[in-house]
Symmetry: C2
Subunit: 255 residues, 2 copies
Amino acid sequence: MCELLGMSANVPTDICFSFAGLMQRGGGTGPHKDGWGIAFYEGKGVRCFHDPNPSVDSRIANLVKEHPIKSHVVVSHIRQANVGKVTLENTHPFQRELWGYTWTFAHNGQLDKALFNKQLSYYQPVGTTDSEFAFCWMLGEIRKQFPKRPDNLSELSAFIQTLAEELRELGVFNMLLSESTALFAFCGSKLSWITRCAPFGEASLTDCDMTVDFMKETTPDDIVTVIATVPLTENENWNIINPGQLVTFVKGLPT
Amino acid sequence: MCELLGMSANVPTDICFSFAGLMQRGGGTGPHKDGWGIAFYEGKGVRCFHDPNPSVDSRIANLVKEHPIKSHVVVSHIRQANVGKVTLENTHPFQRELWGYTWTFAHNGQLDKALFNKQLSYYQPVGTTDSEFAFCWMLGEIRKQFPKRPDNLSELSAFIQTLAEELRELGVFNMLLSESTALFAFCGSKLSWITRCAPFGEASLTDCDMTVDFMKETTPDDIVTVIATVPLTENENWNIINPGQLVTFVKGLPT
């Protein structure tokens, strides 16, 4: 199993605080020692850091933790390998281009081998994980259904939900997916989110001794949603997504 | 104009020394202040660092310079913008997947606007550079010509050469392209390479006061080729690629 971390915000925001908590689970407070990755969207651009080494002692993870990269959508993952060896090509998040947008995908869970019987169309996996295969299949189906980017986001969300439900029939499937403007969060079994906006308060990480006063870090107009497999803070009320439900976030808010 | 840096090696090798020289040109000894990027292949996997800020004072560039990431193929680029704003999505190298391989592309030069009349097929640009458009067109043509990965590398090299020649008719087109095993280096106007193998000697960077004794850094079986727009060292004999010529490197050697 793995851990997911996502962010959607209405202004470029750094995720250093939440990332610091997540990284502790990569070989520290959690068993997810088989690599980690994080994608930061800045406009349509995206920068991605991947490391097949445990996050807790990764120098690159330290850079991400200390270097505030401002972003409006983040997709991150730390891995405990089940299907696929511990290699760079098997390290989430995975990326492909569709409609001139870079799509980013991370998965928590495990899917039955029957997954690999699904017919792929435009996209082929580079590595050997069930996750990347599922992503290639999903994106190919989206491309067939919508040869051009649809104007209507809810139509796209509804289609992604049907694909995610189909994958969920094959096992555990929690997912974060984005194309730069929207963050699609599907809960197969376990996924939580919290929206922070004014008046901001303090938050304390569950996984390490770290507290942040968001009032000092934000402006009154900021809206920031953080999505995680398990709530990252101990003194806030997180929303639990129901299994089988997809929530689409845009500019920090569920749509 | 921009600067290219590539590496092909028969064993995982770090490029810290050459990268240190290149980074000086990003706002230091050169005018290439509009971002930089580097892709490291490790097996079929690839990790990529992108930064739209000048490399000479980039914290991420410092990490890459000091943190020896061992790789057998590297594609790197520092940018002086001509076509396309200075944004993350316009920062080389660009990547797309074909045949279950991640292709990486970086371009030095500038192409006529007529480029944008070319018909794209499978791949669409995310940003607005001539370079990414050219890459999308090339990869789409490769995909049409070879729906499956050809067994014969020279057949693929020859086809890439014809595409590169067609682009060269539109302006300045120096290119590095890789799918993880081969590094395709096309010289439109300016591109040099050097192969280092036993007996290894010392090399001194042109762009900063730094000398390395490769004898201490290598084993006798290592074969490492470095490709750059302009030779990076002052005391070695670099090979100049003829304009219009494509050289394909595999495991550190030209094929």
